[in-house]
Each structure stands twice: as structure tokens, then as C-alpha cells.
């Protein structure tokens, strides 16, 4: 048995832990915490032993092509694992902190409703995390990336019966999805660059990369840029910084491990992992450094004026991650790894003991109080000083501009379609599909301009409709239908674009049809029971229908191409049918996937999460 054979264990152990934890009855606190304890402990011991052995044994990068999930002519989707020093550091950090947190939470979460949910989410996170750090190719990494995003959403919305956690979970999810667009597009382009799902290990072959990039420098820059977007979003770098403090809605230990330590450093991981690819692109390295520096400066300003302990730690942490970005861009990989570990330990510990700040600082103040203490800012000119203060307090208005320039325009497009009803959508779509198919049938007779823009046109129509779904204010079923049908538009666009095979389409649509239909049934059932399930407000129906909520969540995940149905391979396949000069089509489809998922999670949140619309039990104030 070689060491490569052992790699899959590090994925399977957390996955197994997840499944076992799911099966335990929710009132059995003891068993639930024991599963998390042993899962993380076994992982930790194994990781420590493995790493030690690996160090003694030449420390050569390990690589294993594990499972081929789908194979067709010229296309292969497989899970690929690798192990090197970056994996080792992240693996050990992850296992060590998860182990400590599992013990911590065992007592801390005692009697909390949602005890099981909490540990399930932690294990889900742990699985996604390990999949990322062991990923040997982009596709594998992307699966982990998606799992991590979902676990984050669920943990931020852990207190699902209050308004703010749900709202902030959606906010963080949408920022994560911006990062995902980057990753999807990077994957799409690298398909065309390499004509395969290339492994990271190949990326580190200098001659190969150098040769390709010299011929396709624009493509290289595009891929690197997209990777940078993904990394910046995940690691809360400018302009995405403000999600980090808002993610701190869950129980303190989950906040500490995710947003203090592991999750927030995944952007750094992505950069380290793809380092061989972009290290010879000076402009990209410069950009990474600038981004890191900007984040460091702006986040430090915000950290200095924060008056709540968790947001202070969040900004201070993200400022350090900015420095790590700089280190990475300069090629100081080892320093970056040490810095990551130190920052992760420091911030997670600071978050865990953050409730102590009251007794500590009050006592300090009691014995050492100096009124009107001067800080360094005192030496700035008055007007500059005050301006900086207000900007820092307002978090440099970044959120405002994101909203103004990104979300509002998207919403405005969607709003143009007010007045759509379920029947117009259904009949209109059938009509349009018919027209498109007829056009496609007579393809040979079409003028070439129409032929070339037809896929884009179809893709764009799909995108518009899904934007409508995202902005729909009332009709939940309509919104759900629009999302489901978006995949039909995508399928159509791709079919029209190149000869797409029926089995590819079936693979792609299988999950959509199943989950879309099941979700529709769930909504219909709930609508009959509760009458009001409109999108105008949060209903919190998970209070009375927790099982239905779980089923609907699974449907939602299936519908948005989460790796539980073949649709997720289908999505990757779809992109392989988009040519490299069709950036517009790729962007339309990528954005529509992202908006899809936002619309779906919005439906799930509005219907099942938030303050319960019935008031026969305790319901928190909206502002609480």
C-alpha cells in the first residue's frame, strides 16, 4: 500500500462522521457530541501520523486520481486528491481546531435547541474543508467550496427563528456566490486552455504552464483574475470585507472556528494552491499585493473604531489576511503558512474568550482609567482625522456601493418583468422553446449572424427570467418555477450552441427535474396547510414543519446544482460546450447559475426561516 492510497481516508472519515451524526436522534446529546469528537480526533491523529511519516519519507507531493464520476468522449469528471506541505498545514490546523471546538461545544451547546443541527453542520463543514485542502483539481476543490458555502449559510442562520441571522446568512451566501462565479469561469476557461480537467500537480510543471501561457496570455490573466475574485470573496478582502463581521451570528464556537480561523483563510489556500499558475504573471501578483494592502489599511481603520468585540476581531483578522495576501504575492509561501496558522489560532481564541472582555476591560478601566486618552490619530489634521473616523465607522461605504452598483441593477432588470404570472411564464416558455427548436432544426438555412447570437439570446432570456425569480416579491411558486425553468433555457442555449448530446442533457436536467418537481410539491403542500407562503415576509415555517423544511432544503440544493445530484456534473459539462470566444454566453450562464442559487436560498429562507409568523410562542423582536 502506498501513501497515496491513504489520502481518500481523510475525505471518507469526515463524510462518514457526517452520515453517522445524521442518523442519531436529536435528543441524544451524548452520542451526537461523541461522533464529532471521534471524527475529529481520528482525523487529527491520522493526520499527525501521516504528516510525520510523509516528512520522514522525502516529503514528495502525493497525488491520487480517486474516482471517475463521469466519462464521455473527450470529457472526464473525476475526484482528484493531492498532498503537499500546504495540505499538511491546513489539514493539521483544521483537525486540531475542529477537535478542540467539538469538545468545547459539547458543553457549551448543552440544552440548546438545535444541538444536533450544530454538530451536523460542523461535520459538514469539516468534510467540505478537507475536500478543499486535499483537492487535486479545480472540480474537486469546487465541490468542497460549495459544501463550505452551504455549511456557512446554515451556521450563520443557526438561530433560524430570528430575523438578523437569516438576513446575514443570505448576505454572506450571496458574497460567496460572487466568488463562485469566479471559480466557475476560471474552470471553464482552463478547460479550454488545457482541454481537460487539469490537476494542480500538472500546474506546477513550470515548462508546461509557461508554454501554454505564452501562447494564451490573455486567457491566463482571465483565469488568474477569476481565481483572485474567488479568493478575495472567501477571505473577506476588499471590496467584500463587510460580510465577515456579519457572519458572526451563530454560537461563539462556530464563529471562532469558521470566521476566526478556517473558513476565512480559504481564499489564501486557493491562492497558494494555484500559485504555480500565476506566479509568472507579474500583473496578477501586483494586483494581489495591492488588494491585500488596501484591505489591510481599510480593515485596520474599521477595526480601530469598532465598538463591539466580535466585529473588532473580525476586522483585525481580515487586515492580517490582507498581509498574508501580500506575502503570497511576494512568493513567501512558508511565511504565509506560518502567518495563517498564527492568525487562525489567535483570532479563534480571541473570539472564544470574547465574552471575557467585559470583566477584563472593566477591571482594567477601574484601576487604570485615563480620560480622553490620545491615540495616534490625534496627530492627523482635524478634518482628515474626522473624515477617516466617519469612513471607518461606515465601513468605507463598500456595502452601499456593492448594493448600488451590483444588486440594485440586477433587481431593476428583474423588476421590469412585474406582472408575469405562472401561466404566462409556462405558455410563453413553451412557445419560445418551440421557436428556438424550430430555428435550430432549420439551422442550415439560418443566416450566420442569427446562428451565432442565438445561444446568447437564449442564455440571456434565461438570465432575465431568473432575475425575475430573484426579485419576485409575492408568488413563491412562480419564483420556484422560474428557477427550475432556467435550467431548460441553459440546456437549450447549449444545445443550440453545439451539438449537445441527449445523454448530457438528461444528466444535467435529471436533478433539476426531480428536485424542482419535489420542491414544487412541498410548496403546494405547505401552501395548502398554511395558506400564506408568499415572499413578502419571512414565515419561519420550519418551526412547525422541520421535516418539510429539511426536504425542501435538499430540493433547493439539488436545484442549484449542489453535488447531491448528477446536475452538478452536468453544469460542468455545460461549460465544456461553451467555446472560449463565447465569454458573453459563459457569463450569462454563470451569472444565471449564481442568481438561481440566490433566488432559491431566498425562497427557502423566506418560507421556512426567520421569525415565525404565528405568535402563540415566544418570538424575538425583529431587531434582536
Amino acid at each position: 500500500m502506498t501513501m497515496e492510497n491513504l489520502l481518500e481516508l481523510f475525505i471518507l472519515i469526515p463524510l462518514l462522521g457526517c452520515f453517522i451524526s445524521w442518523l442519531i436522534p436529536s435528543n441524544n446529546e451524548q452520542a451526537i457530541s461523541i461522533v464529532a469528537y471521534w471524527t475529529s480526533l481520528i482525523q487529527l491523529l491520522l493526520a499527525a501520523g501521516f504528516t510525520l511519516f510523509w516528512i520522514l519519507d522525502r516529503s514528495a507531493t502525493l497525488h491520487a486520481k480517486e474516482w471517475v464520476l463521469y466519462r464521455t468522449a473527450g470529457y472526464e469528471f473525476y475526484i482528484d486528491l493531492m498532498f503537499d506541505s500546504i495540505t499538511a498545514v491546513y489539514l493539521l490546523m483544521g483537525a486540531f481546531l475542529s477537535f478542540l471546538i467539538s469538545i468545547y461545544s459539547r458543553y457549551y451547546l448543552h440544552r440548546e435547541s438545535g444541538y444536533k443541527r450544530f454538530f451536523n453542520h460542523i461535520l459538514l463543514f469539516f468534510f467540505g474543508y478537507n475536500l478543499i485542502v486535499f483537492a487535486g483539481n479545480m472540480e474537486t476543490l469546487f465541490i468542497g467550496w460549495e459544501v463550505l458555502g452551504l455549511a456557512s449559510f446554515l451556521l450563520i442562520a443557526f438561530y433560524r427563528d430570528r430575523y438578523l441571522p437569516v438576513k446575514n446568512a443570505l448576505k454572506v451566501f450571496s458574497i460567496y456566490r460572487i466568488g463562485d462565479v469566479g471559480l466557475i469561469l476560471a474552470m471553464w476557461m482552463s478547460h479550454h486552455l488545457w482541454h481537460e480537467n487539469i490537476s494542480f500537480i500538472k500546474l506546477s510543471q513550470y515548462e508546461l504552464v509557461h508554454h501554454q501561457l505564452q501562447q494564451h496570455s490573455a486567457i491566463g490573466i482571465f483565469i488568474s483574475l477569476m481565481i483572485l475574485v474567488a479568493a478575495a470573496a472567501k477571505s473577506a478582502q476588499f471590496p467584500f470585507t463587510s460580510w465577515l463581521p456579519r457572519a458572526m451570528e451563530g454560537p461563539t464556537p462556530s464563529t471562532a472556528i469558521f470566521y476566526g480561523a478556517l473558513s476565512v483563510h480559504m481564499g489564501v489556500f486557493l491562492l497558494l494552491r494555484t500559485h504555480p499558475f500565476w506566479e509568472h504573471q507579474v500583473s496578477i501578483r501586483f494586483l494581489i499585493a495591492i488588494l491585500g494592502l488596501a484591505t489591510t489599511l481599510l480593515a485596520t481603520g474599521s477595526a480601530r473604531v469598532q465598538s463591539s468585540i466580535k466585529s473588532q476581531i473580525a476586522y483585525a483578522s481580515t487586515a492580517q489576511i490582507g498581509l498574508i495576501f501580500i506575502e503570497v504575492s511576494l512568493g513567501f509561501t512558508t511565511l504565509a503558512l506560518i502567518h495563517f496558522a498564527g492568525n487562525a489560532f489567535l483570532r479563534s481564541y480571541q473570539l472564544l474568550v470574547s465574552p471575557s472582555i467585559v470583566s477584563y476591560l472593566i477591571r482594567e478601566q477601574f484601576y487604570h482609567f485615563v480620560p480622553h486618552k490620545k491615540t495616534i490619530e490625534h496627530y492627523f489634521p482635524e478634518k482628515v482625522r474626522n473624515t477617516l473616523y466617519v469612513w471607518s465607522l461606515k465601513e468605507w461605504n463598500v456595502d452601499f456601493y456593492l448594493r448600488e452598483w451590483l444588486w440594485s441593477p440586477l433587481k431593476k432588470v428583474g423588476d421590469q418583468l412585474n406582472g408575469l404570472t405562472i401561466s404566462t411564464v409556462l405558455w410563453g416558455s413553451i412557445l419560445l422553446w418551440g421557436v428556438a427548436l424550430i430555428l435550430y432544426h432549420f439551422e442550415a438555412a439560418l443566416p450566420s449572424t442569427i446562428k451565432t447570437i442565438l445561444p446568447e439570446l437564449i442564455g440571456f432570456t434565461g438570465l432575465i427570467l431568473v432575475l425575475k425569480s430573484f426579485t419576485e416579491r409575492k408568488n413563491t411558486v412562480l419564483s420556484w418555477l422560474l428557477v427550475s425553468m432556467n435550467h431548460m433555457w441553459v440546456a437549450l442555449a447549449v444545445t443550440v450552441n453545439s451539438h449537445f448530446y441527449l445523454d448530457h442533457i438528461l444528466l444535467y436536467l435529471s436533478g433539476v427535474l426531480l428536485c424542482g418537481g419535489l420542491g414544487l410539491a412541498a410548496l403546494a403542500y405547505l401552501g395548502k396547510q398554511e395558506r400564506n407562503i408568499s415572499l413578502t415576509q419571512f414565515h419561519g415555517h420550519s418551526y412547525e414543519h422541520p421535516r418539510l423544511a429539511a426536504v425542501f432544503l435538499i430540493c433547493s440544493l439539488g436545484l442549484i446544482g449542489f453535488p447531491i445530484t448528477p446536475t452538478f456534473i452536468g453544469e460542468d459539462l455545460v461549460f465544456s460546450h461553451i467555446e472560449e470566444d463565447q465569454a458573453l454566453l459563459a457569463i450569462f450562464i454563470a451569472v444565471s447559475f449564481i442568481v438561481d442559487s440566490l433566488a432559491v436560498m431566498r425562497i427557502y429562507s423566506r418560507v421556512f426561516l426567520g421569525p415565525h409568523s404565528k405568535t402563540y410562542h415566544e418570538v424575538a423582536h425583529r431587531s434582536a
Binding site: I103, Y107, P165, V305, S307, V353, Q365, K383, T387, S623
Partner: protein, 836 residues
């Protein structure tokens, strides 16, 4: 127009009214329990809570299904329920009402009037005004009030909230506002609430009050803290000028700003679009049948327990204590947490006597520890002390140790770059250590840090002391004698002094707990009682004081020494002070007594552990005690102790009426000897202090339990500390006053029953001495039963008079094996007789 506004919108009056209804909790460092619904206390209990519920949407009792569940599980007795229903609804309607109680379905959804007017922003304008305004408002407010979390403090905070913002608007290149009008209004220096309201609501002053109520109660936590600080600026060490008026002005400006931004082409005021005015907040509240049903259930729940208690007390036969030599006497706080410790002491040492009195022991003072920059009040919150006790020669050991993890430098990027790569790895080690071997750390709140055990306290006035800030340092002899006499008289300890009289204050310790102050002694304004205990002993040991006392007929023999101590209720540890002052004989006796104390503490820890699932109660007492100690320093333990949870009784009488009854740590115990107090003077002093203190504790637990979301602070686990003054969920949330879920989850919401041993007519006259005191009882926010020892009968206070009460329960089981029971039963225990 202006004239009309002044006629119908009396700004000052409305602000006062809003303040009256807002939560009255101060900053975290002084957590003082109070009746959460203090604003409704002038009404009878059930009417008051009904009104509060209907107006503000609070849940004010357990739900109907919870009550029915308690009935089915036997925790509400059928006999008691029937008795109460028959008594209040008439025997002839019993069956009909029992059917309503047990089976009739009711719609128990809560509806509230608050917020209906401002909800129209969403309804008519499709704008989420709170969502637009609140995050920014809270951030400005929290930064302004911040007591030391931020590194860069709010500029010119000393100017006051509005003026400081105005300064920033003047002297910067940016603005808090995004549109012009709001900024200009602020800078015009004539920004009045009524004119801002006219912009927002229109020329409809009749709506203004309701609008402001809606607005302020959409974030009652922040408004409440502003109102508290406005009323008493000394609540903050780093003082701030802030008022509800400022907060409202700022919020109205931000609302105008948000509307101007959302509707750049102009918008009509709310009042102009409003077709139907929402119901007025304070319109009369109709009594529904469900209200009556819930009130009956509540009383049945209460009297199921109270009836047992009274049956228990009446079953105890008074035996004249043997007149042998006493080993010691010990005074404790009336706190319910001392109830079981006293029981164990008495069980282990039959010749000791214990007493209960409010834990400040009559020492009404401010206290300043050595090197402290501020004074702490160490007596009940309403008392305004004129004396100061200073701690001197406290030794070199600083009370404030540093820990770099909390250091602000770790938030500054260059220093943090170094720290994260050094201290970061130390943190990993600390985290590991904290999880596997919890130990004390610099950030912990420990009651023993309140005062250095060997320090000198300036208890006795000396001519070389000069007054500080109008406070006299130390007490003059006659002042001391007066305090000692009052306490001793009130508890009935005026003769038969034992060689040692212990005076034991209490405090608590915890780590990682922003609510640490709520666990200390309520009678000492949320501080530990060590200074008070020591000061009282110094007074009572003073020869001049004893001399004066003897003139009043209290002869304390020279062989008697008072010894102060502090009981840490979390760790169940006691330290004794000034032991060196004991004579050799006394010291030997003291050593002997300590054995009993230590054993009692072990057993007390064991009894407490039955409520804490993570500890195995069946272990030996000393082992359980070790685990309890470890728990108090575990950062991952959100329940260091359970504080006042389950409290529901306050017994005011001689110890023997409660000594023989097992009360499961649910009772405040105030010693009182009615035979020494024929006029009720001492009783008045006791009730005057105990009623609001114990009643406040009880009602805060009551309401935090019935609606942990709106009255309480919700779960502790996601809490984020805001400005060192409060906690919120996440970073954009409202402050959460009240008690967190982990403090109240085992609490049964029962009102407090005072059981006073006296003649009913004396008690009636006593409670009627002041209207404030009388209203607590008359309106039934606390309940009252008088025990007439001479004829062993009870009288229940009801609508201004006393009626005889005969317990329904005829026999009370005898407690045979407490240890067994502790291991088996994690829930509340019924009343038992303790065999003597």
C-alpha cells in the same frame, strides 16, 4: 400651527412616558435585578401583565398547553386547581370552568398594538425603514457610548451625542447622511423633534406620540440603556452626555435621510397617506376568557407549591432549643443560594445557629479598593450612602493582571503581524489548556478579588481622615453601634452569643461571562459581600461600640468574636477574614467549626450538582465539589452556577419555622423574631428592603422565563459584547437586556410568596406604612401569608385584608434519604419534613 402642536404633543411628557415603559437595566458591570414590567406595577398583577401583553406583544405567562402539560404530569394539583376555580368562579360553575381549563381550545396567538403605525412605511411605501436606519444608528450610538472596546474613540464625545455628530458634520469631508436635507436640518441648530415629526408624519400631532413609541420600541434595548444612562450618568465610568431626546432626534433625521434617498422625487408624510388610524396604544384592554383561564392556571401552579410549603411549616412542631453551649452562630445573606448551606451546617453541627439578613449587613457605603479610580456602591441600589470605606495596604499583588490576548495592539496591523506569529501559537496552547485543564485566568470575575484578605479597611472614622467628594471616610462610633444594633435586633440575635459569630457575605465567580455581575450579591448592588462582612465584624468587635450597645440592652460578652467571611456561591468556597484576632481558644473552636463548614460546602456542591447535567451527582461529595470548582473556571461552561433560578419564597421569621422543612434552595430566608418586635418596626425595615429586592429578582426571573426573547436576553451562545455596556446578537442587533436563557431555563415562573411570622394585624399596619411597599402586596406582584405562631394558623393577604388559609395537603412526607433523592431527581423537589 406651532400652537396646535404644543397643545396636543407635549414633548417632555411623551419622552417621560416612553422612558417609563422602556427597560430599566443599566450597563453590564452593575447588574441589578428589577421587575421587568415595573411600568405596570401600579395595576393589579393580572391586569398589568394583560395590558403589557396586549400593548407590547409580550408573553406574560406560560402558554395554555404548557399549563395543561404541567397538570397532566402532576406538577399542578387537581385539588388546588379545583379549589381556586371554585373560589373565584363559584362552586356552581366549577364543572363548566374545569372544562374550559382542561379542554376548551383557545386561540392563543399574541397580537400587539406597538409598531402598527410605523408598519405603514412598509405597507404603503414598500420601504424597510428600520432595515435602512437601524444598523447605522446602532453603530453610531454604540461607538458613542463605548466604554473601551474601540481603540479610536468617538471624537468629541464630551459634547453630547447630537453636538458631537454636528461637530463631525462640520469638521470633515464626509457625512453620516447621504442626502442634503437631513444634514442641513441637523446643522441648522434648530432641530426639534416636533418639526422633524411634522416632516415624517405630517401635520397630525395626534399621531406623534404613537409614532415615537413605535420607533423606540422597535429597539427597546438601545433606547432603554440610553434612558437609564440619562437618568443616572454615573452608571458609566467614562461618562457620556446622552438623552432619549438626542437619540430620537438622530433617528428621525436618519429616517428622513433614508426616505429622501429612496424617493428622490419627493414623498408624502405618513399621516397624509394613512386612511385608518391604527388603534391607540393605551386604549382600554378587553378581558378575554383566555386571560382568565391563564390567570387561574397561574394561581393553581403557584399554590400547588405554596400549599405544600404551608402544610410543611404547620407540621413542624416547635421544640425549645436545648440551652447547652452553642458552638457558633452564623449570619448569612437572605439569598436563596444560602438556604441549603445553612441546612447542611445545622445538620452537621446541631449546636450551631444560623441567621439570614440582607448581605450588606447594614453597612451602607461606597467602597474604594486600593488603586481603584472609582467608588463602588456596596449596599442596595436605592440607598444613597454617605460613607466611604477604603482599602489600604492591599499588598503588592495587583488585582488586575494583564493578558495579551485581550490587548488592543493585536488589532493594529503591524503589531498584530508580529503577535499573530508569536502570541498566535501561545493562544493555541492556551486554548488547549483551557479545554483540558481549566484554571483561573486574568479575565475571570472572582468574588475573592473584590478585596484583599489582609488589607486594612477604613471602617472606623478617624479625625485624620478628610471627607472625599462629600463622603465621610469610616463610621463614627455611634454610627457603627446603630448599624450593629439594627441588624442584631432585626434578626433576633440579642443574647446568648456563641464564642464565634460568623458574618458571611457572598459573591460568585465565573469566566467568559458578560453577565458576571448578576451573580453577585443583590443587596450589595451586584458586588461581593466581603467588605460588608468584614466591616460589620470590625464594628461589632469594637469595644466602644459594644459599650454603646450594652446601654441598649445588647450585651456582647468579651469571649465573643465576630468573624467575617465570604462564600463564593459558584465554587462553594469560603474564606474567613481576620482570623488572627481570635484568641487561642476561639481559634481552636474556629478550626473545629471549619471542618463543619468544609463538609457542608462539599455537600452543598453535591446538592447543586443535580441540576447541572454535566456532573455526576452520585460521586462522593468532595469529588463533586472539585468538579464544581473546575466548572467555575471553564471557558466553555455557560452555566457556572444557576443563580436565583427556581426562587419563589421568602420566609421572614425565626429559623425554626423553616428549619424543619425541605425547601430545595427556593427560599430567601430572613431571620426575624416577632417576640422582640411588638410594633413591627424591625419588620418594616426588613420588608422595606426585602420586598423590592427579592420581588425584583423574582419578577425578573419570572418574565425572562415566560418570554425569553422579548423580556430576556435569549441564548447566551451567540452574544456579542457591545461597548462593554450590553450584549447583542451579531453586530447589527439591538441590545438584549434581561436574563439569558441559560439562567432561567429551569426556573418555574411563580410569584414570590412572603411568609411572615407575626400577627396579621401588625403585618397589615406595617406594610401600609408606605404606599410603595403596600402596592407590591395590594396589587399582588408579590404574595403574602402571615403565620401566627401562637395558634399555628395561616392568614392569606387578599385585597387589602387577611383571610385564614388552611392547607389542602393534610400530610407531608418525611425526607428519609436526601442523598438518594439528589442523585435520582433532576427536577424541582416537593416539600418534605426534615427529621431533626
Amino acid at each position: 400651527m406651532d400652537h396646535q402642536i404644543t397643545l396636543t404633543f407635549e414633548q417632555e411628557q411623551v419622552l417621560q412616558k416612553i422612558k417609563h415603559f422602556l427597560p430599566a437595566q443599566g450597563p453590564l458591570k452593575d447588574f441589578i435585578h428589577h421587575n421587568t414590567l415595573h411600568a405596570f406595577q401600579q395595576l393589579p398583577f393580572f391586569e398589568g401583565i394583560r395590558k403589557a401583553s396586549r400593548i407590547f406583544g409580550y408573553k406574560v405567562s406560560l402558554s395554555l398547553s404548557e399549563f395543561r402539560g404541567l397538570f397532566r404530569s402532576g406538577r399542578i394539583h387537581s385539588d388546588v386547581l379545583k379549589h381556586i376555580v371554585a373560589e373565584q368562579k363559584g362552586g356552581e360553575n366549577l364543572d363548566q370552568w374545569m372544562n374550559k381549563m382542561l379542554h376548551q381550545p383557545y386561540n392563543s396567538s399574541a397580537s400587539s398594538r406597538i409598531g402598527a403605525l410605523r408598519a405603514k412605511w412598509k405597507g404603503l411605501y414598500h420601504i424597510d425603514l428600520d432595515g435602512e436606519v437601524q444598523p447605522g444608528l446602532f453603530r453610531i450610538l454604540c461607538s458613542y457610548l463605548d466604554q473601551g472596546i474601540s481603540i479610536w474613540a468617538f471624537p468629541k464625545a464630551e459634547l453630547g451625542l447630537i453636538s458631537a455628530i454636528r461637530y463631525l458634520e462640520h469638521k470633515s469631508f464626509t457625512s453620516f447622511f447621504r442626502t442634503k436635507r437631513a444634514k442641513q436640518l441637523l446643522l441648522s441648530n434648530q432641530v426639534e423633534i416636533s418639526s422633524l415629526l411634522t416632516i415624517l408624519v405630517g401635520d397630525r400631532p395626534e399621531l406623534f406620540e404613537q409614532y415615537l413609541f413605535d420607533q423606540q420600541f422597535s429597539h427597546q434595548g438601545w433606547s432603554g440603556i440610553v434612558s437609564s444612562i440619562e437618568s443616572d450618568p454615573t452608571l458609566l465610568m467614562d461618562t457620556r452626555k446622552v438623552s432619549l431626546k438626542d437619540l430620537i432626534t438622530l433617528e428621525l433625521l436618519l429616517e428622513i435621510d433614508a426616505l429622501d434617498r429612496s424617493f428622490p422625487n419627493g414623498w408624502e408624510p405618513l399621516g397624509a397617506k394613512l386612511r385608518h388610524r391604527p388603534q391607540r396604544l393605551f386604549d382600554p384592554v378587553i378581558l378575554h376568557e383566555l386571560d382568565e383561564v391563564l390567570a387561574l392556571w397561574q394561581q393553581a401552579f403557584e399554590w400547588t407549591y405554596f400549599d405544600q410549603v404551608l402544610a410543611g411549616i404547620s407540621a413542624v412542631h416547635y421544640v425549645e432549643p436545648s440551652s447547652g453551649q452553642l458552638s457558633f452562630q452564623a449570619m448569612f445573606c437572605i439569598d436563596d443560594r444560602e438556604c441549603s448551606l445553612r441546612r447542611y451546617l445545622e445538620r452537621l453541627d446541631q449546636s450551631c445557629r444560623t441567621f439570614g439578613t440582607p448581605g450588606f449587613f447594614g453597612v451602607d457605603a461606597f467602597y474604594q479598593p486600593e488603586h481603584g479610580k472609582f467608588y463602588s456602591k456596596i449596599c442596595p441600589a436605592p440607598v444613597q450612602p454617605v460613607h466611604l470605606i477604603k482599602e489600604l495596604n492591599a499588598g503588592k499583588q495587583p488585582k488586575h493582571q494583564r493578558d495579551l490576548v485581550y490587548h488592543k495592539r493585536s488589532h493594529s496591523f503591524l503589531e498584530a503581524w508580529v503577535m499573530s506569529q508569536t502570541l498566535g501559537f501561545v493562544s493555541a496552547f492556551k486554548l488547549f489548556q483551557n479545554i483540558f485543564k481549566p484554571s483561573a485566568n486574568p479575565a475571570m470575575a472572582s468574588s475573592f478579588k473584590h478585596m484583599h484578605p489582609d488589607a486594612y479597611l477604613t471602617v472606623k472614622y478617624d479625625t485624620k481622615f478628610h471627607d472625599e467628594n462629600d463622603l465621610q471616610i469610616g463610621y463614627r462610633v455611634e454610627e457603627m453601634a446603630f448599624r450593629v444594633k439594627s441588624v442584631l435586633r432585626s434578626i433576633g440575635l440579642v443574647d446568648h452569643f456563641a464564642p464565634i459569630v460568623y458574618v458571611i457575605g457572598h459573591g460568585a465567580s465565573s469566566v467568559n461571562n458578560p453577565h458576571f455581575a448578576a451573580y453577585d450579591c443583590g443587596a450589595c448592588s451586584g458586588k461581593a459581600g466581603s467588605v460588608n462582612a468584614r466591616a460589620f465584624c470590625q464594628m461589632a468587635n469594637d469595644p466602644d461600640v459594644r459599650n454603646l450597645l450594652s446601654r441598649d440592652g445588647i450585651f456582647i460578652p468579651d469571649e465573643t468574636q465576630f468573624v467575617g467571611g465570604l462564600h463564593d456561591t459558584t465554587r462553594d468556597d469560603i474564606v474567613f477574614y481576620d482570623e488572627q484576632a481570635l484568641s487561642t481558644i476561639q481559634y481552636q473552636q474556629h478550626e473545629q467549626n471549619k471542618i463543619s463548614f468544609n463538609e457542608a460546602l462539599d455537600m452543598n456542591a453535591k446538592e447543586r450538582s443535580r441540576r447541572l447535567v454535566s456532573i455526576d451527582t452520585s460521586l462522593r461529595a468532595s469529588q463533586v465539589h472539585e468538579k464544581i470548582r473546575e466548572r467555575s473556571v471553564s471557558i466553555f461552561e455557560p452555566r457556572p452556577e444557576l443563580n436565583h433560578a427556581t426562587n419563589t419564597l421568602c420566609v421572614v421569621g425565626r429559623r425554626h419555622i423553616s428549619k424543619g422543612v425541605f425547601l430545595d434552595r427556593r427560599s430567601f430566608l430572613n431571620s426575624y423574631d416577632y417576640t422582640l418586635d411588638p410594633e413591627g418596626d424591625a419588620l418594616f425595615n426588613i420588608l422595606k428592603a426585602a420586598t423590592p429586592v427579592c420581588g425584583g429578582i423574582n419578577l425578573e426571573y419570572y418574565f425572562s422565563r415566560t418570554d425569553n426573547q422579548k423580556f430576556g436576553a435569549g441564548s447566551k451562545l451567540p452574544h456579542n459584547v457591545m461597548g462593554l455596556i450590553g450584549v447583542a446578537n451579531g453586530i447589527d442587533g439591538d441590545l438584549r437586556p434581561g436574563l439569558p436563557q441559560q439562567m432561567i431555563e429551569i426556573h418555574d415562573p411563580l410569584r414570590l410568596l412572603f411568609i411572615v411570622e407575626q400577627k396579621p394585624e401588625i403585618v397589615l399596619k406595617t406594610i401600609q406604612r408606605t404606599p410603595e411597599l403596600y402596592h407590591w402586596y395590594l396589587n399582588e406582584w408579590v404574595l403574602l401569608v402571615v403565620h401566627d405562631a401562637e395558634c399555628n394558623t395561616f392568614f392569606r393577604f387578599n385585597s387589602g385584608g387577611f383571610v385564614p388559609y388552611h392547607p389542602l395537603q393534610k400530610s407531608v412526607p418525611i425526607l428519609l434519604n436526601l442523598e438518594d433523592l439528589l442523585v435520582k431527581e433532576p427536577e424541582n423537589l416537593p416539600v418534605y419534613l426534615i427529621p431533626s
